[in-house]
Structures are given as C-alpha cells and as structure tokens.
C-alpha cells in the first residue's frame, strides 16, 4: 500500500480530519471504530470470537438435544443439516481463527519489542472484513422463515462438498451466503497473514534475532505463512463454486464432464494446512505458559521451533488422508498414509518438549497452567486417534463415523480451544491490570475438562459401533443410545463451564485483584510493560541480549549455578499519568485513527448481497471498497504537527 502525501486539502479531507479528531478522544466509541492500535484490534477480535463461540456453542447444544434420544423429532433433518454446517463453519472461521488472531494482535508487537504492527490500517481492515463476513454469514439464518423452523442458513457442511453444494442439490441462498462469507474471511486472514509476517520479520527490537523470539511469535510466523499460501487455494475453489452456482459454469457439473474430486482436492489442499492454522497458535501459547509456571526455560527451544516449521511444510503433503475412500488408488493412499504418520513425529516432539519443560520445574498450578497441561493431555489423545486415521484400512472403517468427530474435537477443542482459554487466563492481567479469579478459573477448567471428555470420548465408541456422522437421528436398536446421552450431558457441562468463564471474566474485570505489571514472574518482554501497556507500548525500544531477556534482568545464576534474584533487577517501566497535552511527550507518534479500512470492509458484504439478490448493489459495494482504498492511500498515516 503506497502512501502518497497529497499536498492540497479538499473540503472532504478537512471533514475527514475532523472525524479523525473525534476518534482521537480515546474514550469515545469512534475511537474504537477508527482504531488502528494493535491492542484494541486484538481486543475486538477476542470479543467477537467469544460472542461467536457462544453462537456456535448454542448450535452444538441444539444438535446434541436432537441426538440425546433415538428417533427424536426436536429438529427436522433440514434444520439439523443447517445447524451442523453453521456450527462447523462458525467454530473454525469465526472462533478459533479470530481468537488466534486476537492473540497475534495483542502479543506479537509486545513480544518482539515493537510499537505496533507493520501496517496498522491493514490490521483494522482485516478485523472489519472478518466481522463483515461473520455478520453476513449469520444473516443467512433470517433469509428463511425462521419462526416456522425454516432456517435460511447453509446446509452443505463446513466442507461444502461440490456437487452437493450446487444449486441443484442445495437450493435456496444458504450456500451462497456460505461461499461469499468464506471469501471475506479469506480476505481478512490474508491481510492479517501478510501483516504479521512483515511485522515479525521487520519490526523486531535490536538484538531480537529470530532465534531469540518467543515460541509464540515463531508459531505466529509459521501460521501466517500457512495462511497466505492456503487461503488463495480455498478462494479459487470458492470462486469456482460461485461461478457454478450464480453463473451456470461447469466446474462441478458432472453432465458436462466436471469432476467432483476437483473440489475435494482443492478444499483439503487448503483444509489440511488450515488444521495447523488452527492448532499452531495454540502450540505457541502452550510454549509460553508452561515455562512461566515451571520457572524453567522451554525445554529444547530449537526442537520446538523447528518442529513447528516442519509441521508447516509437511501440512501441505497430507491432504489425501481426508479422501482415502474416494478411490484414488493404493499408491496415492499409501504415500499420503506415510506422510500422515510422519507429520505425527514433529508433533510428538513438541509434546515431549512440553513434558520436559514441566519436569523438575517448581510448578505453580495456577489457572493458565491447568489449561495448558489439560491441553497437552487432550491434544495427545486427539493426536493418537489421528495416527489411527493415517492407516488406510483402519480409516476405511472409521470414515464418516463419529470416531472422526471424536478425533477432531480432541484436537480442536481439547487442543486449540483449551489452549486459547489458557491464553486468556494468562494474558488477561496484561490488558486489564486485573487478575482473573483463581478458584473460578479452576472450576472453569475442571468443568470444561470433564464436560469435554464426557461429550467426546463416547463418540469414539459410538463411532466404532458404526454410528455415521451428519445424520439427524438413529434407531434405538443400534446400541448407541447410552453413548449419545452421555455426549449430550457432557455438552451441557461444557456450556456450564463457559458460563463460569463469562461470570469470572466480568467479575474479574470489575473486582479483580490488581495484577501489577508482572504477576506470573514471567519471561517475555510484554511483562516488562505496565498493565495495561500504554498506547505506544515501549517508551524506549528495548535492546535484547538473550532468549529470556526479561527473565535475565530479574534472575542470574551464582557461582554454584543456583538461580538468584538480581538486586534491583526486572525494573518495569513506571506507569505515567498522561494528560492530553503530554500525549506526545516522548515524541512518539502513533498512527492516526482511520475510518478508511472500515469503509472498504463494508463494501464486501454489499457486493456479496448484490451478487445474490440484485446486481445493482454490486457497483455500490465496489465503489465503497474503492473509496475506502483510495482514501486510505491518500490520507497521511500519521497526523503532522
């Protein structure tokens, strides 16, 4: 994005300048709408993700209610399809990805010693486009006769297998909303991916070499590379579906010679890297929490980093394990079976490194560590059932059964979601200045762990007993009744644990104990700042001289190798009161707020709505995008004095 200073000021630009002034007042709502501060964008991402976590969770509860008893009629088959489609799509694209993005935004600049990301306005654009897509996708519910149980939402599964997702088999507009909404998430993720790669490679503090970066930053880097290479592939698949559904093209039309495998290959060529896009940020969070609460450096830093990089590369060579039963032949199946077994190796390496980190540490079982340890255990179970999928004959047996559902919930809920919750408990004090309530945190953890296992462990069994997934009901003589009832009870326990979390969150926000800057006696740079950090993060950019730089300012080893505190070490920058006139007291100019990213983002759902309902809207949407982008390029990034 080239920024070109335009010398002359038109009345429009004067008006915009006034609007920007309004946004400068940090307590007004406009300051959030126009914000380009990575911390605020991170908070917006986080709040949105939690809201959609509740939406997706309610969808899951409805599904579980339907399956609690055999031959139930709580949901009709059509509503069931739409709800599981929305549940999957929501949890992947509207919960785990944005919650990971929230942590990228919040943590990466602080951890590498930067004042913001490389492109603050691109960052805002990424958030607003994500939100526009999320609202657009969920608006599909209201396109049907929702009061009579006709949900207008997409019903073709989160994988949207063509030709089943074509107009002929998925009539109505549901899948249109799905494919266009996903396209918006793709744009948002791409913008974020580019931004974080540039930030991490280019914005590191002096001395912060790549191999001194916290592992979370490494995992963000690997994830961002996966995003920028995987998202274009799904974009193409979605464009092909769009042309087929809206303009009668033939990509997946078997009558014209189209091949349904094209969709599956493209979807899973995106889909498997996507799995690691979901889990690697969680790995990064674990690698920060475990050393802090073991009071030891991460065991085998280089192994953890290189395993993450290896996973990133290998994730491109395993997608056919989603397609063993499509008849690609024994050679393809064997090759991808072997690559799938191999990708378990770097993943296993990480699990051992985390255990090695805990080993011999002086462990403090605070809430973040509970979630982290729980994640390692649950992810290991999910990883092991994943290895059983790599065996082709075994997979033939498990394919499309609840065993698969059990597997990916163990890695995505037991792995990603639990780690992200741990991350919230861990970093909540940094951005609020308050500690989260510890007993409630433990209650939250145990309820979630028990509820999670009660929900998903029985699915291994119902799956092995032959229960197919994506089916809205079952007969009572199949022997699945008990296991399904267990799953439903467990799902409500998870819901209860989430309620405890929300209560804890709001309670702590109001009445939490003051945390101070470094409540966990932690290792990474963000803890050297006041809580919450000032807008410009670092008054002076730190010079980093080792991997655990901040820790080393607090502790050193004496002659006998014992760790002793450094006298007067670990000095945290004192918090200062900033009057309005003092805001630029340090000569630190932060990027000005901007409405342009929001304007551009609003254009996307308008274009999409136009494509579905009335082409007249399409140019309106494109005009907004253009106005936003041009305004963005033309306005100066930082207000001059």
């Amino acid at each position: 994005m080239a920024s070109i200073a335009v010398p002359k000021r038109s009345p429009l630009s004067e008006a915009l300048k006034g609007a920007r002034r309004a946004a400068e007042n940090s307590s007004s709502i406009w300051s959030w709408i126009a914000t380009v501060d990575h911390k605020r964008i991170g908070i917006l991402y986080g709040i949105s993700a939690v809201v959609f976590f509740i939406v997706g969770g309610v969808e899951a509860l409805l599904l579980r209610l339907q399956l609690a008893q055999p031959d139930a009629n709580f949901l009709d088959p059509d509503a069931y399809n739409r709800l599981f489609t929305m549940h999957g799509t929501t949890m992947v694209f509207l919960v785990v990805m944005p919650l990971s993005s929230a942590f990228f935004n919040l943590m990466v600049p602080l951890m590498i010693g930067a004042r913001d990301v490389a492109f603050p306005r691109l960052n805002a654009f990424s958030y607003w486009t994500f939100l526009a897509g999320a609202i657009f996708l969920n608006a599909s519910f209201f396109t049907g006769d929702i009061l009579n149980g006709d949900l207008g939402a997409p019903g073709g599964g989160w994988f949207g297998y063509a030709p089943l997702s074509l107009r002929e088999f998925a009539p109505g507009h549901g899948m249109d909303f799905w494919m266009l909404g996903l396209q918006m998430f793709g744009i948002a993720s791409l913008a974020g991916g580019f931004n974080f790669i540039v930030t991490i490679l280019n914005m590191r503090a002096p001395g912060m070499t790549l191999f001194r970066m916290p592992v979370f930053v490494w995992m963000t880097l690997v994830t961002s590379f996966l995003i920028i290479f995987a998202m274009p592939v799904i974009a193409v698949a979605l464009f092909e579906l769009t042309f087929d559904r809206l303009f009668d093209a033939n990509y997946f039309n078997a009558e014209a010679g189209g091949n349904p495998l094209l969709w599956q290959h493209m979807f899973w060529l995106f889909g498997h890297p996507e799995v690691y896009i979901l889990i690697l940020p969680a790995f990064g969070i674990l690698s920060e929490i475990l050393p802090t609460f073991s009071r030891k450096p991460l065991f085998g830093y280089a192994f953890v980093v290189f395993s993450g990089v290896a996973i990133g590369f290998m994730s491109w060579g395993v997608w056919v394990h989603h397609m063993y039963t499509t008849g690609l032949g024994t050679v393809a199946n064997s090759a991808f079976g072997i690559s799938t077994i191999l990708i378990a190796v770097p993943t296993g390496v990480k699990v051992f490194n985390w255990m090695g980190t805990l080993w011999g540490g002086s462990i403090r079982f605070r809430a973040p560590l509970m979630f982290a340890v729980g994640t390692v255990a649950m992810f290991t179970i999910g990883g092991l059932s994943g290895v059983t999928h790599s065996m082709v004959p075994s997979d033939y047996q498990q394919n499309s059964s609840y065993y698969v559902v059990a597997h990916f919930h163990y890695v995505l809920f037991g792995g990603a979601i639990m780690a992200l919750f741990g991350g919230i408990y861990y970093w909540f004090p940094k951005f609020t200045g308050k500690l989260m309530n510890e007993p409630l945190g433990h209650l939250n953890f145990w309820l979630m762990l028990i509820g999670f296992n009660l929900t998903f462990f029985p699915m291994h069994i119902s799956g092995l007993l032959g229960m197919p997934r994506r089916v809205y009901t079952y007969n009572s003589d199949m022997g699945w009744d008990f296991w399904n009832l267990m799953s439903t009870v467990g799902a409500f326990l998870i819901a209860l644990s989430v309620l405890v979390f929300l209560y804890n969150f709001f309670l702590s926000l109001r009445r939490g104990k003051e945390s101070g800057p470094d409540p966990w006696d932690a290792r990474t740079l963000e803890w050297s700042l006041p809580s919450p950090p000032p807008e410009y993060n670092f008054k002076e950019i730190p010079t980093v001289d080792s991997r655990d730089h901040f820790w080393n300012t607090k502790y050193r080893e004496d002659e006998t190798g014992r760790v002793v505190p450094v006298l007067a070490g670990g000095v945290v920058e004192p918090e200062e009161e900033h009057g309005d006139d003092d805001e630029h007291g340090h000569g630190i100019h932060m990027p000005s707020p901007s409405y342009m990213p929001l304007i551009a983002s609003i254009g996307f759902p308008i274009v999409a709505t136009g494509l579905i309902y009335d082409y007249a809207l399409v140019p309106v949407g494109f005009a907004l995008i253009l106005i936003g982008l041009f305004g963005w390029v033309m306005e100066p990034a930082t207000e001059e004095d």
Partner: protein
Amino acid sequence: MAHAAATDHLETSTGIDNKKLLMWLFLASDCLFFGAFIAAYLLYRGRSVVGPYPEDLFDIPFTSVSAFVLLMSSVTMVLALAAIQRGNVRNMRIWLLTTAVLGTLFVAGQVYEFTEFHHEGLSLSTNLFGTTFYVLTGFHGAHVTVGVFILMSMFIVSMRGGIQQKDSLTVELAGLYWHFVDIVWIVIFTLIYLIQP
C-alpha cells in the same frame, strides 16, 4: 514529517522495506491463486463433451500480438522506474502513461477475443473449456485492469507533484505487481494457447 511515524520509514530488521516485503508476500500468495486456476484448466483440458473446442477458436497470431503488447508494457514500466530513480518526473509520467495505455490495449484485445468467442458459441456454461477458459483469463484480465487503475492513479498523483525521486519505491512496487501479472500471462499463454494436446 517532523517525527518518523511508529511504523513508517523506520529501519527494518531485515533491511527490506516493509511495503516491498508486503508486495513480495502478496505476489507469492497470488502465485497459488493463479496456480489453482491453471491446475483446474489443465485438469479439464480435452474433457469437454461438446464444442466449440480450443482449436476451433484460438487465433494464435492475434493473441501473440496482444501478448507482445503486454510484454512491451513491462519494458516501459522499467523505463518509468528508471526515470524516477534519476529524478526525471516528466519521463516517468510519460512511461507510466505508456504502460497504462499498453495495458488497456491488452485488456481491449481480451474483450474483443471474448466477444468473438461468444459469437462463435462459447459461453461460460457451454462446456468445461468455456468455464475454465473464461474464468482463468478473466481473472488475469482483472489483475491487468487493477494494474491500469494503479498506474493511472499514480499518473494523476504525479501530475499534482505527489511523486518525487524519494518516492521511487511506490513506482517500484507498482512495477513488481505489473511484471508479475505479465509473467502470469506468459505462463497462461504458453500452457493454454501454445501447447495444445
């Protein structure tokens, strides 16, 4: 600017300018975008069940000329960058405009080609060839069109004195994009027009 902005013009860890790195990453990502469309075209090549087929429609001499026009626009783009790096704003304007005109000519050629094919009975929904050909080359044409927009915007800004020697990076970034779109066309032209099964 009195003070360097927090994110602008700061010395970067790698020494590569942020915007340049961003452009390279975008282009790398775009490779996958075109790669996937080209793969779909190649997968479906020769699989159309009804005509018209590529050999009935392709006018290689015509498309060669428009490909040549696009390639020449890369040369003029290089000249525009060289001019501004030497501080010659006037020449940069001339070459930017020439590049934009050549790009527009290429797009015009594509519009003509699409219209011709359509007259001869090839629509998006006729067969697999129609689907994969129009979508792939259409997305390439869209990229060229975006490029022309960027060039014309830069031309207009430079008329108001907005691009000086110190802003040569802006021209360089537009050039990177423009050359990439050219290279993609070389691949498409070779794989789709020249190499027929």
